[in-house]
């Protein structure tokens, strides 16, 4: 399997042409993602866009039907021990063994990883304010996320994969988790891949952003470049159009009367050209946030 990428030698995650079908539905369609060492990748998309499916392929829980997946240069299906020993994973559904106590779960996980740092684990336990005597099934949702994160961070994995780490959590817990992640990123050579719906978190923390829509990669690049490749502009029409104007390259068009707001994918020159074609001029513009880009692209209005 060829993995053509400029930095493939250094790529911690190399997904190339991955496709996956569940019955007739295509969950992933020709997805290619490369994550270099030491970077933070944010995976965004609507519910059901294929984020969890992609993550499961990285862990070997799903076998690639077409295309290839390599983590640390190894196939996670053929070499689960080699890959999983260096990966920390926090699942979206926090599937934990409810009958275990917190300390039992930590002891159990510790046995699998020779690089477990007991001192660090104790620090995290104190910082997250978890009671080691409590059973996992009596923990609240935030506490479950915290213990899941603790047992993924304590052995200092080279790659941390987080599936919706902040889902369903209050702002205080979210802050704790984000701080723990950033502390880990600040250490040499750690890579993080996380999927999230909280796009302001993704903008703050992610170096690269990959947006999935219906199983396809629609955006892939550095966070600022992705933002700067879009323009949120207000177009003024000489004559109010009867229906919503259609612009080539616009992802969303909304408004009323003679002023319409447009989220455009392209450079300013292209925007002016497209606007001129429909008889409008640009009166206001700014760089949109990732949130606005995602909603606009997901809405699917325009082209």
């Amino acid at each position: 399997m060829k993995f053509p990428s400029p930095s493939s030698a250094e790529a911690v995650i190399a997904v190339s042409g991955l496709s996956r079908h569940f019955g007739s539905k295509a969950a992933l369609d020709d997805v290619s993602v490369f994550v270099p060492r030491g970077s933070v990748l944010g995976l965004v998309g609507e519910n059901g866009a294929g984020k969890t499916t992609l993550i499961k392929h990285l862990l070997g829980a799903l076998k690639a039907q077409a295309g290839g997946v390599r983590v640390f240069g190894l196939d996670p299906v053929l070499n689960p021990v080699g890959v999983l020993g260096r990966v920390g994973y926090l699942s979206e559904r926090r599937d934990l063994p409810g009958w275990m106590r917190v300390d039992e779960f930590m002891r159990y996980t510790q046995a699998f990883y020779p690089r477990w740092d007991e001192h660090y684990a104790g620090q995290l336990l104190e910082q997250f304010q978890l009671d080691p005597a409590q059973k996992l099934k009596t923990l609240s949702q935030g506490q479950q996320a915290k213990i899941g994160l603790l047992t993924s961070l304590a052995y200092r994995p080279e790659l941390l994969i987080l599936d919706e780490p902040s889902s369903g959590l209050d702002p205080v817990v979210r802050r704790d988790i984000l701080e723990a992640i950033i502390r880990m990123v600040a250490e040499e050579g750690r890579t993080v891949l996380f999927s999230s719906h909280l796009l302001d978190e993704v903008e703050r923390v992610a170096d690269h952003v990959v947006m999935l829509q219906r199983g396809r990669v629609v955006l892939n690049g550095r966070t600022e470049e992705v933002r700067r490749s879009h323009i949120l502009a207000v177009l003024a029409f000489a004559e109010p159009p009867a229906t919503a104007p259609v612009l080539a390259g616009a992802h969303a068009v909304a408004g009323y009367g003679s002023e319409w707001r447009v989220l455009f994918g392209g450079s300013r020159l292209e925007l002016e050209a497209a606007a001129a074609l429909v008889g409008a001029r640009v009166v206001e513009e700014r760089t949109p946030t990732l949130d606005e880009i995602l909603v606009a692209r997901a809405g699917g209005k325009g082209s």
């Binding site: 829980a61 070499n79 689960p80 002891r107 699998f112 005597a133």
Partner: protein, 558 residues
């Protein structure tokens, strides 16, 4: 889009429609079981061959039991979700604007109706032909079943958090069993009171259920019980003193398997052996059965069931062992296990080790129960041992050791028999495997039976048997080698894991062959030895265990 209309648009109708919708498939199976039983019984009545008749009776009885037990579950609101099996009233119904009385009466009344009607139908069509049940008896049994069903519901709804619920169910079943046999028992103080007792049981069940549900609705059962929290703290405090790390990943996985499933076999089998035997003895003493010499006979008769108990229960538990979390809703590998850096072979080895430890513990408990039984009555242990064999008590004790080892191995074989099929995580494979095993066993029984009676058949069988056995052994070795090679290539199993499995197979096989040789020499049947040894090697699981890591890989990487 037309959403559709409920046939009976009242809360009662909605509740019944939900139960019907949830258990549609189950009721389908009921119909099939009934039809099968009717056909079998008809065949028996029309004149089936003599030796097939008991099998037909057995099969029909099993159909009845299976169908009836699942019917009991239908109206009990047993639900399975992400956290496991929930045997309590579903919370979503408690939030509806419906009175507690209605919530209680609908499943109890309609459930009871279905239970009684179903029993009447089964009796009329099937059970009548299997045994003699008088009309009055039918009413009595229906009433006992109804009482048992209602009290099961009371238990499920009124005590949702009680941990020893299985024990309570067992006690409930035992009480109802005794009540059922009340008319048959010799005259005691309780005779003549049977109907009032049953009536009292039925009458108190409904208010008890109502009270339990009312308390649940008021949130009395929210959160862990104080006792449970206290117990958890005590265990944590005790563990603090000996907080040690697991030596290896294998040790941690073994601990997990032991905590989850390890206690099942010793608990059930050993518990039954240690508790039920004295209970039955005391019960019989109370009712005045078996004094004097018949007492010794009685105890001797209990020995065989005691020995068979672990073996039978291990067969039943075999399919449970393949699961990692027996209360997990699906058969998929739980995520906290799937992301551990452990080979599939490692998981399998932990299960095998746990099964061995479990068998050993169970037999230790059974031997202890055995001793208790032997201690009762006159004479010392030694004198009783001397009664069993002419070689003296010491020889008896030493002779027991290899037998015990073989029994442990046999139980272990039963436990791990379904592991290859169960670990695939596909329920239909497990079911198909179990079905094929039952068919195979039946076929063997039929063959053996025919061989006993028909001399010609026996001669032909003995002529072909050696070839058949050798072919089977060759096939077993071939499949195992292929599975091991495939597993090693795909990193599903390490070389040391494969070594342990092969070594275990050879070691146990040699142990069995050695003991068989000794026994055959003692009873002067030297020719038989080679066939017993061969059969031993065939019975010990090798291909099954070789396939297991690949099966788990198929489950883990979907």
């Amino acid at each position: 889009m037309n959403v559709g209309r409920l046939a009976w648009p009242t809360p009662t109708g909605a509740m019944l429609w939900e139960i019907w919708g949830r258990h549609k498939l189950n009721l389908c199976w009921q119909g099939i079981a009934l039809a099968t039983s009717v056909c079998l019984v008809h065949w028996k009545e029309q004149g089936a061959p003599k030796d097939v008749a008991p099998l037909l009776v057995l099969f029909s009885s099993l159909c009845f039991l299976g169908a009836y037990l699942s019917l009991l579950a239908c109206f009990g609101y047993i639900e399975v979700d992400a956290w496991g099996v929930r045997l309590s009233f579903p919370g979503r119904l408690l939030l509806k604007p419906v009175s507690t009385a209605r919530l209680v009466l609908v499943p109890m009344f309609f459930g009871g109706l279905v239970i009684v009607t179903s029993f009447a139908v089964w009796t009329e069509l099937v059970l009548r032909h299997l045994g003699n049940i008088a009309a009055l008896d039918r009413l009595w049994i229906s009433a006992v079943l109804l009482s048992f069903f209602w009290w099961m519901q009371v238990l499920a709804w009124g005590l949702p958090l009680v941990k020893g619920r299985m024990l309570v169910v067992g006690v409930l079943a035992l009480i109802h069993f005794l009540v059922w046999r009340l008319p048959q028992m010799p005259r005691t103080a309780l005779s003549g009171w049977q109907w009032p007792i049953l009536a009292a049981s039925l009458a108190s069940a409904v208010p008890a259920a109502w009270l339990g549900l009312k308390l649940m609705r008021q949130g009395r059962w929210e959160g862990p019980l104080r006792i449970s929290r206290l117990w958890s703290r005590l265990r944590f405090a005790r563990a603090r003193g000996r907080r040690r790390r697991f030596g290896s990943a294998f040790g941690a996985q073994f601990w997990l398997e032991w905590r989850r499933q390890g206690w099942l076999l010793p608990g059930i089998s050993g518990g039954m052996a240690l508790l039920m035997v004295p209970c039955i003895l005391i019960g019989f003493k109370l009712v005045g059965v078996g004094t004097g010499p018949s007492e010794t006979n009685l105890r001797a008769e209990l020995i065989l069931p005691l020995l068979l108990l672990p073996l039978v229960i291990s067969v039943l538990l075999g399919s449970v062992l393949a699961k990692f979390d027996r209360l997990h809703a699906t058969d998929e590998l739980p995520i906290y296990l799937a992301v551990r850096p452990m080979t599939n072979g490692g998981f399998v080895m932990a299960k095998l080790a746990m099964a061995l430890a479990t068998s050993a513990l169970t037999w230790l408990i059974t031997v202890a129960a055995f001793f208790c039984l032997a201690l009762l009555g006159k004479g010392t242990l030694f004198s009783k041992a001397g009664l069993v064999t002419p070689y003296g008590p010491v020889a008896f004790m030493t002779g027991c050791v290899p037998v015990l080892l073989l029994l442990v191995i046999w139980t272990w074989i039963n436990l791990v028999a379904g592991i290859g099929a169960g670990l695939t995580g596909r329920a239909w494979i497990g079911g198909a495997y179990m079905f094929s095993r039952v068919v195979l066993l039946d076929a063997l029984f039929v063959l053996a039976g025919s061989a006993m009676e028909n001399v010609n058949f026996r001669a032909t069988l003995l002529h072909w048997l050696p070839g058949i056995l050798l072919v089977c052994l060759a096939a077993k070795l071939g499949v195992s080698v292929a599975a091991f090679v495939g597993g090693l290539r795909r990193n599903a199993i390490t070389a040391s894991g494969a070594g342990w499995i092969i070594g275990g197979w050879l070691g146990c096989g040699l142990l069995l062959a050695g003991y068989a040789g000794f026994v055959c020499h003692a009873i002067n049947q030297r020719g038989l030895w080679i066939w017993v040894a061969l059969a031993g090697f065939l019975m010990l699981p090798l291909a099954n265990l070789a396939i297991a890591p690949l099966a788990l890989a198929w489950n883990r990487h979907r």
